[in-house]
């Protein structure tokens, strides 16, 4: 017979989380032997680069959006931010196509693929808002060009790339929150389902 404590929302949530993602799945100490390729490095590299992107972005945010133009330290931090973004996308694209080649959506992992693909799109939008928030010639040109594409969709009326304040807020608050939440969701799904096994070629099996 269930007690009052068993029926608590907290208790139910804990049981559900532990059932779906027990500690040995969340932080495994073994993995299937087929996980033996350099391609697997690019998932964790993407996450590591995301961490560096966020850390360098936070340092850039300390003194406002323009200090890096007049400070050699600020310019260096901007360089760190730029190159971590380049590494992030490089690793992410290889990770994406690697997972495509593995048909990594098999075995009930469709949503893992979907969240990964959406994270890629959100990341592109986050980077774009960063480019138009640089407050330099590059941002002027990109904003004046990009407005035509976005305006053609009707979206420019609400997402005005010429409005620095709006773009900066999207870049440093809204989109990073989205990208990080999606990344967490994606990684949790990977941990819940495990790494997709190799494609079966020769054995007729039943599912």
């Amino acid at each position: 017979m269930s007690t009052d404590i068993d029926r608590q929302w907290t208790s139910r949530l804990r049981r559900s989380v532990v059932a779906k993602l027990p500690p040995d799945k969340l932080l495994p100490d073994t993995q299937p032997a087929y996980v033996a390729s350099w391609i697997y490095v690019f998932g964790v590299t993407t996450m590591a680069a995301l961490g560096v992107v966020i850390a360098t972005g936070c340092i850039l945010a300390l003194d406002g959006p323009q200090w890096w133009h007049s400070s050699s330290l600020g310019h260096f931090v901007n360089s760190l931010h730029l190159w971590s973004v380049e590494i992030f996308f490089f690793a992410m694209v290889i990770h994406l196509w690697g997972k495509f080649a593995m048909a990594a959506w098999r075995g009930g992992r469709s949503l893992t693929w979907v969240t990964g693909a959406i994270t890629f799109m959100v990341s592109i939008l986050t980077a774009f808002t960063g480019y138009v928030s640089q407050t330099n010639f590059d941002s002027q040109w990109i904003a004046t060009q990009a407005k035509d594409g976005i305006n053609s969709t009707g979206g420019g009326a609400f997402f005005n790339v010429l409005n620095l304040g709006q773009m900066l807020m999207w870049h440093i608050v809204l989109l990073p929150i989205g990208a990080v939440l999606l990344t967490v969701l994606h990684v949790v799904m990977v941990r819940v389902k495990g790494v997709v096994p190799p494609i079966v070629e020769t054995v007729e099996l039943s599912a």
Partner: protein, 316 residues
């Protein structure tokens, strides 16, 4: 009970093979350290671009004639922005395909009147100057037909425009107050006052640069500088960066469409590119659910390279 057929692009058998030691925390830590070191190394060696922003002051001092001609087009409503359409005004046709035209559906939400916002309001904010005040009064009291005849007379003579002695000279006597308005706006721009006037129309505190950026984009100066930096739309500029730094290379497919027909020749090219990319994006996201597409990995067999040790062991 009938067994469900095994679908190789959807199902996986339960793994019954061996497991090997795996330290996920160590892996993550090593990745973070390696990426941090690589980032620092790249930043130290290659730095990053920071081409200074141009201002209307920069533009009007570097090319006063281009500025003055652009100002006339803003005043007479023939500029790119004046003819843009939504979301700025009703000046031009909306992009779309068939009945699909979200730009038109949304309508004008960031209202821009180029004559008022870019020329007349900034001039009216100037300290009292008798000649300018008289010119503004003459402009405001004239009919739209008369205004058009003045700007037409000015525009038809502006091929012979010169800038000498801090003055914009146009050989016409039929342009009413337009020569004074354009000359004073050019002087205002060259002093830097127009940059301030365009942003402070939004109030004391502002982070919205819509008006000065639109004004800049109507001239040829900004585009000329961008083309020198290989940033033009027909130069794959969307994925380029000033100087020789890498830009948004991940936008290569988006910018690719702008290089080919019919995208680069259609008046609705932007909308067509966006639509194409949305379809491709939807396909990417939905790969697991699309028969045929989800079989591609099994057909191209790159997975054999990735799992070569597994297949070698299986074959042994």
């Amino acid at each position: 009970m009938r067994k469900k057929a095994y679908r190789p692009d959807v199902d996986v058998p339960e793994w019954k093979g061996r497991y090997v030691p795996y330290d996920i925390i160590k892996e993550g830590t090593i990745a973070l350290v390696v990426v941090a070191i690589l980032t620092v190394a790249l930043a130290v060696v290659f730095s990053s671009p920071d081409e200074k922003a141009i201002t209307i002051k920069t533009w009007s001092n570097a090319d006063p004639i281009d500025f003055a001609k652009t100002a006339v087009s803003e005043l007479d409503g023939t500029s790119g922005v004046a003819h843009y359409g939504a979301p700025y005004n009703h000046g031009g046709p909306a992009q779309g395909l068939g009945f699909l035209s979200p730009e038109k559906w949304v309508g004008v939400r960031i209202a821009i009147n180029t004559a008022t916002d870019f020329v007349l309001n900034p001039l009216e904010a100037q300290p009292t100057q008798p000649a300018l005040h008289a010119a503004l009064t003459q402009w405001a009291s004239a009919s739209s037909t008369t205004q058009s005849s003045w700007t037409s007379a000015y525009a038809s003579a502006d091929a012979k425009m010169t800038f000498t002695g801090d003055h914009v000279n146009v050989p016409t006597h039929a342009a009413g107050p337009v020569p004074v308005l354009i000359n004073d706006l050019t002087m205002m721009a060259r002093s830097g006052a127009l940059d301030q006037a365009l942003v402070t129309q939004n109030g004391f505190y502002t982070t919205n640069y819509t008006k000065p950026l639109l004004f800049l984009s109507d001239g040829t100066y900004l585009a000329g500088l961008a083309n020198k930096q290989h940033l033009g739309g027909d130069q794959w500029g969307m994925m380029n960066e000033t100087g020789s730094w890498p830009g948004q290379a991940w936008l290569w497919l988006y910018t690719f469409w702008y290089q080919v027909s019919p995208y680069n020749s259609s008046k609705s090219g932007d909308f067509m590119v966006f639509g194409t990319m949305m379809v491709l994006t939807a396909l990417l996201v939905a790969v697991p659910f699309i028969p045929g597409l989800r079989s591609v990995p099994r057909r191209i067999k790159i997975y054999r390279l990735i799992w070569r040790e597994h297949y070698r062991e299986s074959e042994d």
